[in-house]
C-alpha cells in the first residue's frame, strides 16, 4: 500500500488546498479526505502539516474561515476561498501546468 502513495511535492500542498476549497468551503478533515479521494489515494496529506498550512493561507488572506455546524452536527472550522485566494490559485495552477508540461516533455523525449 505504501508504495502506491506519493509524498506531496514541496509547495504543492498550498495549491491543492486552494483548489479543494475553491469547489466549496470545507474544514480540515474534509480537505484531507478530498485530496486523498480525488487523487485515488495516491496523495496522502501529512495531517500535521495541513493545519499550519491552512492557518498560513488564512493569514495571507487567501482563505477566510468561520465556525459553523458540520455534516455531523458538531461545530467545525470551515475554510473558504477569498478573491485574493482565487487569483493565487489561478496563478499557481497556470504555473503548475507549465511545469508539468515541461517535465512531461523531457520525460517523453529524452530516453
Amino acid at each position: 500500500m505504501a508504495s502506491e502513495k506519493s509524498d506531496l511535492l514541496q509547495g504543492t500542498l498550498d495549491m491543492l488546498v486552494l483548489k479543494i476549497v475553491a469547489l466549496e468551503p470545507a474544514h480540515g478533515y474534509l480537505i484531507a479526505q478530498r485530496i486523498q479521494q480525488i487523487s485515488r489515494d495516491v496523495l496522502q496529506v501529512q495531517q500535521g502539516s495541513l493545519y499550519p498550512a491552512l492557518h498560513r493561507l488564512e493569514k495571507r488572506g487567501w482563505l477566510k474561515a468561520d465556525w459553523r455546524d458540520s455534516e455531523t452536527g458538531r461545530e467545525a472550522k470551515f475554510y473558504a476561498l477569498t478573491r485574493l485566494g482565487r487569483k493565487q490559485l489561478e496563478a499557481e495552477s497556470a504555473n503548475w501546468d507549465r511545469l508539468a508540461g515541461a517535465v512531461a516533455l523531457i520525460m517523453r523525449t529524452v530516453e
Partner: protein, 882 residues
C-alpha cells in the same frame, strides 16, 4: 491569545475525532481507533506549536524560545549567574544612583507648579557666577520693559526664628513680590495666597507651606488667622500653599512666605534696597509668553541689560568698579527645574561622577563579556552541534544576546535596588551634616535611563561572545579535545580593556585623594584643632550700646569657662567660604588706575589671634582697651605689608576704610581667609568695636558674629552645654546656635573634595577588584587549557618556579598594554576634572605611578593563584587529561 489557543485545540480535536470515528466505522475498537488517529496525526503538541508560530511574528517566536532556553541554561550555573548579575547590578546601580541625583538636582521640574517649562530665571552673569542675584531696581527695569515674558517676580530666601503660640522655632522662608504665586500658577490649599495687593499692604501677612501646616497645626483650618512673631513683627497667617509645592529652590525646607515689603519692617531695613541699583540680593523669575522661546527671551534680556549698563556705568565713581561692571551681562536661563544653588555647587562633581560610573559600567560589561566568552568556550561542543543541525550564525548570536538580555534584566533589578540605597547615601553625604530634602525617588526619567543603560550594557556585553559563537565552525571543535594553547584573542582583548578602564579609574581616584591630602596639608596659618565655634540668635534686636555689652559679655563668659585657654569672636570665620572685601586707602601708597584697591577685612574681638594660633610677627595684638571710644587701630598680614608697604614696617602708618582711619599696630603671619584652596589675600583686621558709622549700622548686633573658644586639651564640643546654659544668663533673648568645632567648619568647605576622594577611591577599589577577577578568570582558564603543555614542560625538566614565571609573564603581557592604554585614556579624561584638583595637575606623574603600581601589584597577586596551581600540576596528571 487564550481564545486562539482554545480554537486551535478545538480544530485539531475535531479532526482527530473524525478520523477516530472513521476507524470505528471500519470496525476497530474505539480505543485502538483513537490511538491510530493520534499516531497518524503526528505530535499534536508539535503541531500546535507550529500553528502558534504561524500566528506570532517569527522574531517573537524565536525570542521567546531564546529567552526560555537562556533561562534554563542560566539556572544550571548559579555561580556564574550570581557573579554576572552582581557585576551588572553594581554597574547599573551606580549609574542609576548618580543619574537620580542629577535628575533631582537639575532635571526634575518644580513639583506642583503649573507648566514649569514656561519659567525662566533672569539673572546677571559675571566672572564669578552664572546666575547672580539682581537688585530691586534692575527687577523693576526688566519687569516694565520685557515683552517676551507675561509676568515676573523676585524673591529672597530668609532664615529666621519665629514664635508660634509661645514656642520658638528656627524656620526657612521666602520674601516674595506680588506675582510670585500667579507666575507659578498655584492655588491655595486653604485661605488665600499672596498677591500684588500685599506688596504695599500695611497689614503684615504670611502664607505657610502645606508641610508646615501639617507638622505644626495638624492641618487645622483654624491655623488661618493665627499670628506669629517674626523679627519683632506680628504676622497673620492668611493661607496655605498647595501640597507638594517646595518653593523655587531645590534641597531646602521652607515653612512660610511673606511679602517682600516685610524687608522694610525688619531691623536695619532703611529702604535702601529698593533704590540702590547695584544692591544685588534678589532672585528674579518670570513666565514666558506663549510661543516665546528661551533663546528669544534671553536675547531680549541681554539687549535690555546693555542699555542698563551703559546707562549706569558712568555713575560708578571708582574705575575698578566700572571695569568690573562693564564686564557684566544678563541672561534668561531655563527655570523649569527652579533656580538652584545646589546645581552650581554639585554640577561639576556630579558630571565627573557620571563619567566615573559610566567607566565602571563599561568595566562591568567587559567583565561580563569575558565571563560569557569563557562560558561560550566551554559550550563550544554544544554550539558546534547546533550549527551542524542547521542553526544560523545570526540565530546563535541572538541566542547569546537573549542570555545577556536576561542577565541585563536581572542586573537592572539588582541595580535599581542598589541605586535606591546608594543615592540616599549620596544625599546624606551631600547634606554634609545638614538637612537636605532632595527627592531622589525614581521618576520616569530614572526608569528610562536605567532601562536604556541596562539594554546598552547587555547588548555590549553579549555581542562579543555572540559574534564569536557565530564564527564557531562545525568540524574542528567537535573533534577537539583539550589540546594546545588555544589562544583566545577576544578574551585577552577584554582583559586588557578591563585593565585599561581600571587604570583610568585608579588614576582618577589617586588624583582626587592626593587633592584632598594636599588640601589638608596646606599651611593655613590657623590651628583649627581644639577650637569650638558657634553662632548666636536673639529674639529681638538690641540698641547699639547693649549689643556691645552683650558681645563682650559672651566673650568674657567663654574665657571664664573651665578648660578654655582663649576666647574671642570674629565677623567672618576664615576657611568657610566667606570673604568680606573693602576698598582701602593706604598712606604712602597710590593705587594705579584699575589696580585692585581692596583688602579682605575682618572685624575681630581681642585674643582672636591667640585662638587661631596665628603668630603676631611685629607690634601688638588688640586689647580690651581698643574700644568704641579709643583711637582706631588695625593689624595687617604679611601680604598686606609686602604689597602695600613694599615689605617695610607698617607700624605707626595709617590705613583708611569706610571713612575710618586706623593706625597699624601689628603684623600677623599670613593666614588663609576664604578657603583652603584660595590664596592668602591682603588682609586688614580691625577691632569689632571700631567699624565706623556705616559698618556699625549693619553689624551692630551680637548675631553678626561667630564666637570661638580654644580649649587646652580634649574635645572642645564638651563646652556646648555650658555655653547653652550661659547664653540666657547673659541676656534672656540670647541663644546659642550651631555649635561645631573649627575643624568641622573647615570640613564643610571641602565637601566636594571629600566626596570625590571617597567615591573616586571607592570606585577605584571596585575597579581593581573587578580587574583582578578578570585576570584570575582568564589565567585559571588558560592554565586549565594548557595543562598538558605544562605537564610536558615539567616532564622535560621545568621547575615549579619556571612554571610560575610562565604564568605571571602572561599577566605582565596583559598588564603592559592595559596600563598603557589606561594611562593614555586617563591623560585625556582627567583634564575635565582639572578645576576640582588642588596641588596636583591632571597629569601628575605620582598619581599615574601610584595607579600603575596598585594595578600591577593586585593583578600579579590575582595571577599568583592560578600560577601556583599550574606549578603543582604533575606530569602524569597532565598527560592523563588527554
Amino acid at each position: 491569545m487564550k481564545r486562539l489557543e482554545r480554537r486551535l485545540e478545538a480544530e485539531i480535536a475535531y479532526h482527530i475525532d473524525r478520523v477516530t470515528q472513521n476507524y470505528v466505522a471500519q470496525g476497530l475498537a474505539p480505543q485502538e481507533a483513537r490511538r491510530r488517529a493520534l499516531l497518524e496525526f503526528g505530535g499534536a503538541t508539535q503541531i500546535q506549536e507550529d500553528l502558534r508560530d504561524v500566528h506570532r511574528p517569527r522574531w517573537l517566536a524565536d525570542l521567546r524560545q531564546d529567552v526560555v532556553y537562556a533561562a534554563r541554561t542560566l539556572r544550571r550555573s548559579p555561580g556564574f549567574l550570581a557573579c554576572a548579575v552582581l557585576t551588572l547590578g553594581l554597574g547599573i546601580g551606580a549609574n542609576t544612583a548618580i543619574f537620580s541625583l542629577i535628575n533631582a538636582v537639575m532635571l526634575r521640574p518644580l513639583p506642583a507648579v503649573r507648566e514649569p517649562a514656561g519659567l525662566i530665571q533672569i539673572s546677571r552673569v559675571t566672572d564669578h557666577c552664572d546666575a547672580c542675584a539682581v537688585s530691586y531696581a534692575l527687577f523693576e527695569y526688566f519687569r516694565d520693559r520685557l515683552s517676551s515674558v507675561s509676568e515676573s517676580f523676585i524673591e529672597m530666601p530668609i532664615r529666621h526664628e519665629i514664635t508660634v503660640d509661645g514656642v520658638d522655632e528656627m524656620v526657612n522662608g521666602d520674601e516674595v513680590s506680588g506675582a510670585y504665586y500667579s507666575v507659578l500658577g498655584l492655588a491655595p490649599a486653604a485661605g488665600r495666597l499672596l498677591g500684588p495687593e500685599d506688596d504695599a499692604s500695611p497689614t503684615p501677612v504670611a502664607v505657610i507651606s502645606y508641610d508646615y501646616w501639617r507638622r505644626r497645626f495638624g492641618l487645622d483650618p483654624a491655623a488661618i488667622g493665627k499670628s506669629f512673631t517674626y523679627a519683632s513683627t506680628t504676622l497673620t497667617i492668611v493661607g496655605v500653599e498647595p501640597p507638594g509645592f517646595e518653593g523655587t529652590e531645590r534641597g531646602r525646607t521652607r515653612e512660610f512666605t511673606v511679602p517682600l515689603s516685610m524687608t522694610d519692617r525688619m531691623g536695619g531695613g532703611d529702604g535702601r534696597w529698593r533704590q540702590e541699583w547695584d544692591m544685588n540680593s534678589l532672585v528674579m523669575m518670570a513666565r514666558r509668553k506663549p510661543g516665546v522661546t528661551v533663546a528669544r527671551a534671553n536675547a531680549e534680556v541681554a539687549a535690555l541689560f546693555d542699555v542698563w549698563r551703559n546707562d549706569k556705568a558712568p555713575t560708578l565713581k571708582e574705575a575698578f568698579d566700572r571695569i568690573r561692571f562693564l564686564k557684566e551681562r544678563a541672561a534668561a536661563l531655563p527655570g523649569a527645574a527652579g533656580m538652584n544653588g545646589l546645581r552650581a555647587q554639585f554640577w561639576k562633581p556630579l558630571s565627573i561622577l557620571m563619567g566615573i560610573v559610566a567607566l565602571v559600567l563599561l568595566l562591568a560589561c567587559a567583565n561580563l563579556s569575558g565571563l560569557l566568552l569563557a562560558r561560550a568556550a566551554s559550550r563550544q561542543r554544544e554550539i558546534s552541534i547546533r550549527r551542524a543541525l542547521g542553526a544560523g550564525s545570526g540565530r546563535l548570536t541572538r541566542q547569546f544576546l537573549a542570555e545577556s538580555l536576561l542577565l541585563g534584566s536581572c542586573g537592572a533589578l539588582v541595580g535599581f535596588s542598589v541605586a535606591q540605597w546608594f543615592s540616599r547615601a549620596l544625599v546624606t553625604m551631600m547634606a554634609n551634616g545638614d538637612d537636605l530634602p532632595l527627592s531622589v525617588s525614581p521618576d520616569w526619567r530614572v526608569f528610562a535611563f536605567t532601562g536604556a543603560v541596562s539594554l546598552l550594557a547587555c547588548i555590549f556585553a553579549g555581542l562579543a561572545p555572540g559574534l564569536s559563537a557565530g564564527r564557531v565552525s562545525v568540524n574542528p571543535s567537535l573533534k577537539e579535545v583539550r589540546t594546545g594553547g588555544g589562544h583566545r584573542p577576544l578574551g585577552r582583548v577584554l582583559v586588557v580593556a578591563q585593565l585599561a578602564i581600571s587604570m583610568t579609574l585608579l588614576v582618577g581616584a589617586s588624583l582626587f585623594i592626593r587633592t584632598l591630602v594636599k588640601l589638608y596639608s596646606v599651611d593655613t596659618g590657623i590651628r583649627t584643632g581644639g577650637v569650638l565655634i558657634f553662632d548666636v540668635t536673639a529674639k529681638h534686636h538690641f540698641p547699639p550700646a547693649r549689643s556691645v555689652e552683650i558681645q563682650n559679655a559672651i566673650v568674657a563668659r567663654l574665657q571664664s569657662l573651665p578648660g578654655v585657654t582663649f576666647a574671642s569672636a570674629a565677623d567672618i570665620l576664615p576657611l568657610g567660604g566667606g570673604l568680606w572685601t573693602r576698598r582701602v586707602q593706604v598712606d604712602g601708597y597710590t593705587f594705579r588706575p584699575g589696580e585692585d584697591d581692596t583688602a579682605a577685612l575682618n572685624a575681630i574681638a581681642w585674643r582672636y589671634f591667640a585662638v587661631t594660633g596665628t603668630p603676631i610677627l611685629l607690634g601688638r595684638d588688640f586689647s580690651e582697651r581698643d574700644t568704641v571710644g579709643s583711637s582706631p587701630v588695625a593689624i595687617v598680614n604679611q601680604k598686606f605689608v609686602r604689597e602695600l608697604f613694599a615689605g617695610r614696617s607698617p607700624l605707626g602708618r595709617h590705613v583708611t576704610q569706610n571713612d575710618v582711619t586706623y593706625e597699624i599696630v601689628g603684623v600677623v603671619k599670613d593666614a588663609k581667609y576664604e578657603s583652603l584652596r584660595k590664596g592668602v589675600p591682603r588682609t586688614l583686621y580691625i577691632p569689632w568695636e571700631q567699624q565706623g558709622e556705616m559698618g556699625q549700622a549693619n553689624r551692630s548686633q551680637p548675631m553678626a558674629y561667630a564666637y570661638l573658644a580654644r580649649v587646652a586639651s580634649g574635645d572642645p564640643m564638651r563646652l556646648t552645654p555650658l555655653v547653652e546654659h550661659a547664653m540666657p544668663q547673659i541676656d534672656p533673648a540670647m541663644r546659642m546656635r550651631t555649635p561645631r568645632t573649627f575643624q568641622d567648619h573647615v570640613n564643610q568647605s571641602t565637601l566636594n573634595e571629600r566626596m570625590m576622594a571617597t567615591l573616586g577611591g571607592f570606585f577605584g577599589l571596585l575597579a581593581l577588584i573587578v580587574a583582578c577577577l578578570g585576570i584570575f578568570g582568564i589565567l585559571a582558564f588558560q592554565v586549565s587549557r594548557r595543562i598538558n603543555e605544562i605537564g610536558v614542560r615539567m616532564a622535560l625538566g621545568a621547575t615549579r618556579g619556571n612554571i610560575v614565571n610562565l604564568v605571571l609573564r602572561e599577566v605582565a603581557m596583559l598588564l603592559l598594554p592595559g596600563c598603557t592604554l589606561g594611562a593614555l585614556a586617563a591623560a585625556g579624561l582627567t583634564r575635565f576634572a582639572n578645576s576640582m584638583l588642588f596641588g596636583v595637575t591632571s597629569t601628575d606623574p605620582t598619581a599615574f605611578a601610584l595607579a600603575a603600581a596598585a594595578l600591577a601589584a593586585s593583578t600579579l597577586a590575582a595571577g599568583f593563584l592560578p600560577a601556583l596551581r599550574a606549578s603543582r600540576v604533575g606530569p602524569i596528571t597532565a598527560l592523563r587529561c588527554e
